[in-house]
């Protein structure tokens, strides 16, 4: 137990140590986080009027970011499956970065849900009267928190074992890794069902939402990891081989293809039949009654997604410059289409046919940026701690080892 506290203490100390670039980056992130805290305090005082949301469009940027980030958490599963299921050892040394990303991203998701609540002070009511299994939101609470705990356990265990200089025992983490794979699929499915289950919103009430959600998540998540790994290898002593990046490239490539195919299926169903239920889709892609705030966004997303797909299909994208370009395009494109492009149009027009547009306010944007900065801050700290511990540069102090030896002797005799 004492050693565990020493571990936490060393982690805390490590997170404050770094060169000037590290300190500068952390200071900037902290400042942006504090700006977000400031905007959120305003929201606490005056209510959600500080946002652009209305009774007509009652979910906005917060839920859009939440939805997208649930997708990013898939990155972990996409690294784990090749390593643990297919024994692809290229990715073995970088799996932990995916799992750490999942932790940071799920915490961001929970924050985005919290800031969306009108009465966050009543959050505990959720535990006192949990409308399970009727409400999909309660399923999502279980799925997200469960995934967070699984990844915390896996990462925490591996890092702590490295800290103690012991070989991690497979019994304590491999079963959890496999549960986490299934769980990763469940967090997307459940989050998609949150929207799919609403009969009064034809834009969401479609069976293709969950599969598309998975496909786009499996593209955006690993794309982000490709970029992250390059930053890790540039800024730290951790070595990441190009093979790992190229394995991930193949995953992004296939996922992006499936995503675009499903998009085509969706567009055909919406527009060829031309039934009365396509108003939201028409609003999203072409605008309704002269109003189309989302039109430029969604076409940007489609162009970005298509470009990313084309680049990834070219053999030239084995070069890192083009690969990075494709990844950035995929991440931004999917952020638009799985965020604002999925959430907002379902509210336009309203079930009574009224067209009210949504535009996030500066307050809302500041809160969103604050949460993103906080997530990056968390991720940076976790990577900062993990790399020296895993490479054995930071270890438990010797006297603990001796104590443990003594204890081992005592139990043996």
């Amino acid at each position: 137990m004492r050693r565990y506290f020493a571990f936490l203490w060393d982690c805390a100390r490590l997170s404050f140590v770094g060169d000037w670039r590290y300190h500068g980056w952390m200071t900037v992130l902290t400042l942006i986080t504090l700006v977000g805290v400031y905007a959120y305090c305003h929201q606490l005082v005056y209510g959600l009027v500080t946002t652009g949301m209305t009774d007509q469009v009652s979910w906005g940027a917060y839920i859009a970011n939440f939805t997208y980030l649930v997708g990013l958490a898939a990155a972990a599963a996409m690294l784990v499956i090749p390593v643990y299921v297919y024994r692809n050892m290229h990715l073995h040394d970088v799996v932990i970065f995916g799992e750490l990303l999942a932790i940071a991203v799920i915490i961001m998701c929970l924050l985005f849900v919290m800031v969306d609540l009108g009465r966050p002070d009543r959050f505990l009511h959720l535990l006192q009267r949990f409308n399970f299994p009727m409400s999909m939101l309660t399923w999502d609470v279980i799925a997200l928190n469960g995934y967070l705990l699984l990844n915390l356990h896996i990462c925490g265990y591996l890092v702590y074992m490295a800290y103690c200089g012991r070989e991690p025992s497979k019994v304590f983490y491999v079963p959890f890794v496999f549960v986490a794979i299934v769980w990763a699929v469940s967090i997307h499915t459940v989050t998609a069902f949150l929207y799919v289950g609403l009969g009064g919103r034809p834009f969401w009430n479609s069976a293709i939402i969950a599969p598309r959600f998975l496909a786009s998540a499996f593209a955006a998540g690993p794309a982000l990891i490709i970029l992250t790994l390059q930053i890790v290898r540039r800024c730290t002593s951790h070595r990441v081989r190009d093979d790992a990046l190229l394995t991930l490239r193949r995953i992004v490539q296939v996922a992006m293809l499936i995503n675009m195919f499903l998009l085509g299926c969706e567009l055909f169903t919406e527009f060829y039949t031309d039934s009365a239920h396509t108003a939201s889709a028409r609003y999203l892609y072409f605008g309704l009654s002269g109003r189309g705030a989302l039109v430029p966004w969604i076409w940007t997303a489609i162009v970005f997604d298509s470009l990313a797909m084309i680049i990834l299909l070219l053999p030239a994208s084995r070069g890192l410059t083009l690969l990075n370009l494709a990844c950035v395009l995929a991440i931004v494109g999917i952020w638009i289409e799985k965020g604002m492009g999925l959430i907002v149009p379902a509210f336009v027009p309203t079930p009574l046919g009224e067209i009210v547009e949504y535009m996030p306010t500066w307050h809302e944007i500041m809160v969103c940026l604050g949460i993103w900065a906080f997530g990056l801050l968390l991720y940076t700290i976790m990577v900062r701690i993990t790399i020296p511990v895993l490479s054995g540069q930071v270890r438990a102090r010797g006297r603990h080892d001796q104590n443990e030896l003594k204890a081992a002797h005592a139990t043996r005799t």
């Binding site: 100390r13 140590v17 060169d19 902290t30 504090l34 700006v35 805290v37 400031y38 305090c41 606490l44 005082v45 209510g47 959600l48 009027v49 946002t51 949301m53 209305t54 009774d55 007509q56 009652s58 979910w59 969306d116 609540l117 009108g118 009465r119 966050p120 002070d121 009543r122 009511h125 959720l126 006192q128 009267r129 949990f130 409308n131 409400s135 999909m136 939101l137 609470v141 200089g165 949150l194 289950g197 009969g199 009064g200 919103r201 002593s237 108003a279 379902a346 309203t350 079930p351 009574l352 046919g353 009224e354 020296p388 540069q393 930071v394 270890r395 438990a396 102090r397 010797g398 080892d401």
Partner: protein
């Protein structure tokens, strides 16, 4: 000073590599300055909280209050007294104005339904404003439970309807009117999705909200196919002299910011044998309300004999709100002036 730089000096299990060097006086000072700057930045970020209205923060009683269905009779009485006191304080009511917060239970053998005659409705929106007054909804930002749609002739598609019609005279004979409010569905999607069971269906068919339990996630608002739910995005503003002091826990007591609200068929009136405010105010008699289980009630007669339909039947929520039209054609109304100036929207 990074971990990598430090390790060559401590190759064995020594002091943890990467830890800060022995604090010199200068290092200590710098740490102090950093800590002070950090604390100041945090204080600045939290500074808007100074403007928090102490009335908005939940009191201890409110914070620990149980869910409506779990409260004992005494606890309920205490909650009603607390709410009355809170209303008096919040609206600075003089001592001679009695605040009456009750919790009328559903009556046995009663299931309320609503019937609206589309041949008669002239779209005057008197119901909209009477409802807001009766139910103490916020006037700024304005919250209305009833939305009257001006429908195009030849279409039942709400997407071609006009929500913000503002003529000098009504009705417009090129249109018909479709007022929409909570349909008190028998299979309410809003109840199904609520994560905290803060909204439920009462035995008399009314879907209610415990405003002290709602966490404000707005999932119910997304789920409602009739756009019947409203959210208090800001603190509801109601002039104290317009406050309706005859209140019930589950209906028209003033709400806080950050919670949902909706039409409750005026249960504080209807559970005591009165008509909802919208029925009482309707100048054309288009609105009918009553107990469907009583075969002699007006609504039972309408459901048996009139040409009745429900709106958006395809969403399958089984509404208790019916529309009907007269057999002998619409009553023709000469267009009339839109009521008192200022009352029109």
């Amino acid at each position: 000073m990074s971990a990598a730089d430090n390790t060559p000096n401590n190759p064995t299990h020594g002091a943890p590599a990467g830890a800060a060097p022995e604090p010199s006086r200068r290092g200590f000072l710098r740490m102090g300055v950093n800590a002070v700057a950090g604390a100041a930045a945090l204080a600045a970020a939290l500074s808007p909280l100074r403007d928090l209205d102490p009335d908005d923060a939940p009191s201890l009683e409110e914070f620990f209050q149980k869910h409506y269905k779990e409260m004992s009779a005494e606890e309920k009485q205490a909650a009603l007294a607390r709410i009355a006191e809170q209303v008096r304080r919040r609206f600075k009511l003089p001592a001679d104005r009695a605040v009456n917060v009750q919790d009328p239970p559903p009556m046995d053998g009663v299931e309320f339904v609503y019937a609206l005659n589309v041949s008669r409705c002239i779209g005057c929106r008197k119901c909209v404003h009477a409802c807001a007054k009766e139910n103490n909804t916020s006037r700024s930002p304005e919250i209305q439970y009833i939305r009257v749609l001006q429908m195009q002739k030849g279409s039942i598609d709400v997407e071609t309807s006009e929500h913000h019609y503002d003529p000098i005279k009504i009705p417009d004979h090129q249109a018909y009117y479709l007022p929409v409010q909570c349909h008190q569905c028998a299979k309410p999607p809003c109840v199904k999705v609520c994560p905290t069971e803060a909204t439920w269906q009462e035995p008399d068919g009314i879907t209610v909200i415990d405003y002290d339990w709602c966490i404000g996630c707005r999932y119910c608002e997304a789920a409602c196919p009739y756009w019947a739910r409203r959210f208090n995005f800001g603190k509801p503003q109601i002039p104290a002299d317009e406050l309706n002091l005859d209140m019930a826990y589950l209906s028209n007591r003033p709400r806080s910011k950050g919670v949902m609200e909706k039409c409750t068929f005026c249960l504080h009136r209807t559970r005591r044998g009165r008509m909802p405010a919208c029925v009482e105010v309707c100048p054309t008699g288009s609105r009918k309300f009553g107990n469907v289980l009583d075969p002699d009630s007006e609504v039972a007669y309408i459901l048996r004999h009139k040409r009745v339909f429900v709106f958006k039947e395809e969403v399958g929520t089984l509404p208790r709100f019916f529309y009907y039209f007269d057999e002998r054609g619409s009553r023709y109304h000469e267009p009339i002036e839109v009521f008192e100036p200022g009352e029109s929207t």
